[in-house]
Amino acid sequence: MSENSIRVMQNRDMGKVTSKQRFAKVFALGGTYLFLCVMALIVLFPFYWMLISSVKSLAEYRLSKPTFWPQVLLFSNYADAFSTANLGRLFLNTAYVGIVSTILSLFITIITAFAFARLEFKGKELLFAGLLATMMIPGELFTITNYITVSSLGWTNTFTALIVPFLVSVFYIYLLRQNFLQIPNELYLAAKVDGTSDWKYLWKVMVPLALPTLISITILKMMGAWNSYIWPRLVSNDEAHRLVTNGLRNAFKDTSGEVNYPVQMAAVALVSAPLFLVFIFLRKYIMAGVSRSGIKG
């Protein structure tokens, strides 16, 4: 076969393959987008339904043919929801518990991670391995005894019971220690030469350098307070100390019958709003924190 004829054959093959391939490619790409959009709609639909239901009148909500855009925007549902579920009180309680426990927890996490990353002491490796081992045990196993402990300490129906048992998170200590270990040793030696104490080095150098991790921890911890349900229900479920999730569930106990769904949806939207706001502004840190931690709140 002459060189020429080979080239001709190649050209013809190429032409055929590309037109066929192009079709397959467009088809596949279209399919991909279609799939993603359908999935995205499924994911978004509950949010959409929550929002439009929250501004419908009860009569409109009960129409046998649903409306996908409310006929009248009834924002008073939100005011009703706020008072029905006593959301103001719940928000304040939750914010208090969230902020106090986050600050204390960050402080303990920082100093503990620092000791494990930087200081030398006997039994360091063993102690750290022991800490990591506790991560395998499901939290429910601790809850039983902690409930007894908290009761016998007289902490029932106090904020203390909601804050103190969860101040130490082995996982956050682990996360931060790994971050601290990445900081070059020379920085520590340089600080030593400059006469910097361990304490000052920790707060002036290590903490600023580990800031992204600390922000992730802060957000996850706050989300935890916002979403916690089981433990608060056990130990502090009185009016003065109730947290937002419990309050929400308590205020709308019934799932069927004559429930005022629009008001309920307005309450749900109000409770969800802070989380969404945090997500919008700090998406990067949340996603980074979650992909490393794999824990919800």
Partner: protein, 367 residues
């Protein structure tokens, strides 16, 4: 401020847990560093030069021996109380602080009567920055600086406390070749302006030779030789020092002293006195060769590398310990590679002989 090292020894516990043997990183180091000089600690990696530096800094404690700054015994003094500045190999700048904050940082730790006002600190920081010529960069972050600029910031940070002693750990190793030349001149200039006793560590002999007032050559924790760079180069104490200093490196041959003559292979290159007959190792500096049609050393030429002012002749010799013998000759000489042999005469002060066993220098007189 002179620094005196007295029987300084550092032993590390062995990595291998089963053996109780210790690794001696620095062995019985004695040296008096004169005030206001620039000293280079030189040696291959693992020779103990960095350990010595860290012991002077106080970051590591000696196993035995004493360290004096002037007349003060600082052996037990902690790092921050020694009044030293230390520049790390990777500069160790705080990445989240600006250049200014980095330089200010050591000043903010001063306590008691050393405490400075804000204005004094800023003034000192500005002066230090000016000295290393980075006063235009004060508001940048380290990541926005080139390697050379980071190096200067690190030096400024070390100098701002007005240390009694300045220590530099491999200060040039992270820079590219051109910056390295420039920066080493810079270090020399800064040292001469501040007159601070300065010790730096390097594995690059050229770097050490070019800027040091004195060099200390070390090997496996033991000091091999101390002296002015030129003296050490011209008069190496042993084969290791001779081999370690000089680019291109010294040529080494198997040789023999017999009947008052020094033989390299079968070539009798030199007549000498007061050396007993024995096999020896011979070192000849590349610049010690002279083209001479009647010269005693016969080499087979392989290649000629033109270096401008000089040419480097690559040749072989049967008694050479290395594959090639390298000589540096004035470019005016014409060498024909085609010829079977080049003949060299040897400059007597560029040839050294060493004991074959101990590798210690054997001194001789030319007849």
């Amino acid at each position: 401020m002179k620094i005196v090292l007295q029987n300084l020894t550092k032993a590390f516990p062995s990595r291998n847990k089963k053996s109780s043997e210790e690794v001696i990183a620095v062995n019985n180091f004695n040296f008096e560093i004169p005030d206001g000089k620039l000293i280079g600690l030189l040696g291959p990696s693992g020779c103990g030069k960095s350990t010595t530096l860290y012991m002077i800094s106080g970051l590591q404690k000696p196993t035995s021996g004493r360290i004096f700054f002037g007349d003060d015994d600082v052996t037990e003094l902690s790092t921050e109380n020694r009044g030293i500045g230390l520049v790390f190999q990777n500069y160790a700048l705080y990445p989240h602080m600006t250049v200014k904050q980095n330089i200010l940082f050591p000043l903010q730790n001063l306590k008691g009567e050393d405490k400075l006002t804000k204005e004094q600190m800023l003034e000192r920081a500005y002066q230090a920055a000016k000295l290393v010529q980075i006063d235009q960069l004060l508001d940048r972050k380290p990541s926005e600086l080139s390697g050379g600029q980071q190096q200067r910031v690190a030096i400024a940070r070390a100098l701002v406390k007005m240390p009694r002693v300045l220590l530099l750990d491999e200060p040039l190793s992270n820079l590219d070749a051109r910056l390295r030349l420039q920066t080493r001149e810079e270090i020399r200039r800064i040292q001469q302006e501040t007159k601070i006793t300065t010790v730096f560590v390097t594995h690059d002999q050229e770097e050490a030779m070019s800027i040091s007032d004195m060099i200390v050559v070390m090997k496996t924790g033991i000091v091999q030789q101390i002296g002015k760079p030129q003296d050490v180069y011209d008069d190496p104490a042993n084969l290791f020092v001779a081999k370690f200093l000089g680019t291109p490196p010294i040529n080494v041959f198997e040789g023999q002293v017999k009947g008052g003559k020094l033989y390299i292979g079968s070539d009798a290159v030199l007549e000498l006195t007061n050396v007993a007959d024995q096999p020896v190792t011979v070192g000849i500096r590349p610049e010690g060769f002279l083209l001479d049609d009647n010269g005693p050393l016969k080499c087979k030429p392989v290649n000629v590398e033109v270096m401008g002012r000089d040419v480097s002749v690559v040749s072989t010799h049967e008694a050479s310990s290395n594959p090639f013998v390298r000589s540096i000759i004035n470019a005016d000489n014409k060498i024909d590679i085609g010829q079977e042999f080049v003949r060299y005469a040897i400059k007597p002060h560029k040839i050294f002989i060493f004991n074959k066993e101990t590798e210690e220098r054997i001194y001789f007189e030319v007849k």
